[in-house]
């Protein structure tokens, strides 16, 4: 089969690889139709995530049809059109039983601090991902869902991570009616988090980034007020001014490990790998939120330490909510919001790229060329 493979920092190509096989009785093999490149894939692409091996196939956002199932699979049959959450999870461990699907203890031998994720290094379990013609999907009875007939492929694809994570991020903010919410990052997850903050009753939603074209999308797609932090000497002071010097009730970090805004922090992380993540957006979130407020962290960070301003967080009495999104928990409600017209996920898709052009796709997304927001990979074009 054809599959994207990692060849070292900033280098990927398409290779012929062996088709995946059933390795566990509850495995399914899915023929991928669409996949996406996620902003968090760029952390792997830049060589930031430990134990990212040469030859690894990335891709944790994908949909397709079931090709084959293992002997114990009861809920799927070959030919089903399925969406697969980015979490690999067993459904029965202490954590899965309590709804923490992203924290499964039975699928990732390499680490206990993170669950299993498709195509996200051996630190997340060593599973090849969905930027390929076929992918092994463990626990076919637990993770995947048959896509409702009314749902478009691209919308289903975006429910597998970006939309679900944005929606989850707004929930982690514990937003109540009348709250002011600041979202750091106008990438796909940030845009969805901003959009979903309104669903929970926010009275103001402010989005911060340094890319004007993305801020323009935040205004049109998510009805948000926007600030380009590159235009201000100190974005935290600007946020205080914008909120009557109170600070926002909720701040959402939708940037994660490679945040810009402080050259030293960015370079020490992204280029020299001396931190698990550049905490610029997280520190701004901590400093911009009001005392007693809530910080929601859905940006992905690596496992090494980061220079987070924890003293400010403690002294301000903040509540910090974090997690990788337990995707499937969000689906029934998201489907309802999509059907009601409250959310139109594929409004943020800007590029549709054949799998063969994967190297150009990663370069474009990494370098933010051509006003890219969300690139989708066309894997099976038949």
């Amino acid at each position: 089969m054809k599959a994207m493979t990692y060849r070292g920092p900033y280098k990927v190509r398409v290779e012929e690889k062996r088709n995946p096989v059933i390795e566990h009785p509850n495995d399914a093999i899915v023929r991928v139709k669409l996949a996406a490149i996620c902003g968090s894939d760029l952390h792997l692409y830049h060589g930031l995530m430990p134990d990212t091996r040469i030859g690894h196939t990335f891709g944790h956002e994908f949909i397709g049809t079931v090709e084959k199932v293992g002997p114990s699979v009861q809920n799927l049959t070959a030919g089903d059109r399925v969406m697969v959450p980015f979490n690999i999870y067993c459904g029965s461990c202490y954590f899965c039983a309590r709804g923490l699907y992203s924290n499964c203890h039975n699928v990732n031998p390499n680490a206990t601090a993170v669950g299993g994720i498709y195509g996200y290094s051996h630190t997340c379990g060593g599973y090849d991902g969905g930027q390929a013609e076929f992918v092994r999907v463990p626990f076919g009875d637990v993770g995947p869902s048959v896509i409702p007939d009314w749902m478009e492929d691209e919308d289903a694809l975006l429910c597998t991570d970006a939309l679900a994570t944005g929606y989850f991020g707004a929930q982690l903010g514990d937003i109540v009616e009348g709250d002011t919410v600041i979202v750091f990052g106008a990438g796909p997850v940030g845009l969805y988090a901003a959009k979903c903050s309104w669903l929970m009753g926010a009275s103001r939603v402010i989005v911060i980034d340094h890319l004007d074209y993305r801020l323009s999308k935040a205004r049109s797609f998510a009805n948000a007020e926007t600030y380009n932090f590159g235009e201000y000497d100190d974005i935290v002071v600007e946020m205080k001014k914008a909120t009557d010097f109170l600070g926002a009730d909720v701040a959402i970090d939708a940037v994660g490990a490679e945040a810009d805004g402080n050259l030293l922090q960015h370079v020490s992380t992204s280029k020299f790998k001396m931190q698990g993540g550049s905490p610029v957006a997280l520190n701004w979130a901590i400093d911009s939120v009001r005392k007693g407020g809530t910080v929601s962290v859905i940006g992905a960070y690596g496992p090494l330490f980061s220079a987070v301003k924890f003293g400010d967080a403690m002294n301000k009495g903040l509540t910090i909510h974090t997690n990788q999104c337990p995707v499937k928990r969000q689906w029934p409600r998201l489907w309802s919001h999509i059907q009601n017209g409250y959310l139109k996920p594929n409004d943020i898709v800007t590029h549709r790229i054949p799998l063969e052009h994967i190297a150009e796709g990663y370069h474009m997304f990494s370098s933010k060329l051509d006003d890219v927001i969300k690139p989708i990979l066309l894997v099976d074009q038949n």
Binding site: G47, R53, G125, D141, W198, L199, G201, G247, P332
Partner: protein, 189 residues
Amino acid sequence: MTQRSERMPAYTPAHPLVPDSDELRARIPGWGADLNKEDRPSVPKLKFLETGAHWDFPERQPEKWPRERSVEHRFLTPVFGTAQPPRGLSGAMRRYGYKFSEGRAAHWMILLYADRVDAGEQHLRSLLSLRPDNPVTETGFKAEFTHHGIRSRFARKRVDLKHMWMDPLIVAGPWIMAVFLARKLFKRN
């Protein structure tokens, strides 16, 4: 002199003025659809739900080679990825790294250095294959010409331009160094 409290919310009990809910509902599609905090999909955080699992503990996947695992696990998890088994010097480094717990920086730093060694090993191996690595095509540099590389960067207020110049050095640096060392060795011999 007393100031109007709504103008100084942080310094008085007053809450900042907020727009009327009906106005927001009319302006924003779906505003307030998830207003009830108790009725949000991830509330409460810990919640027993039907997952589709028909086992208490999953059947074990066969272990075809000694699978590296975190020392913080009681045993090898019943299901695991089998992509890219460790091999060569990088594989030995990785196995060593897994002797340290996830709480130790040594664990992660060794894995990170093993990744760089892996890259070197695999680049060399590729030179002996029918498809050697091509550092130009694999970086996707062509996108600079097909996706407006110049227009996307300049005359814009992008703060990442301050460090983007380092990327070509990170990509090409090791190759240039390798060629330089190979030439030096060749000349000496």
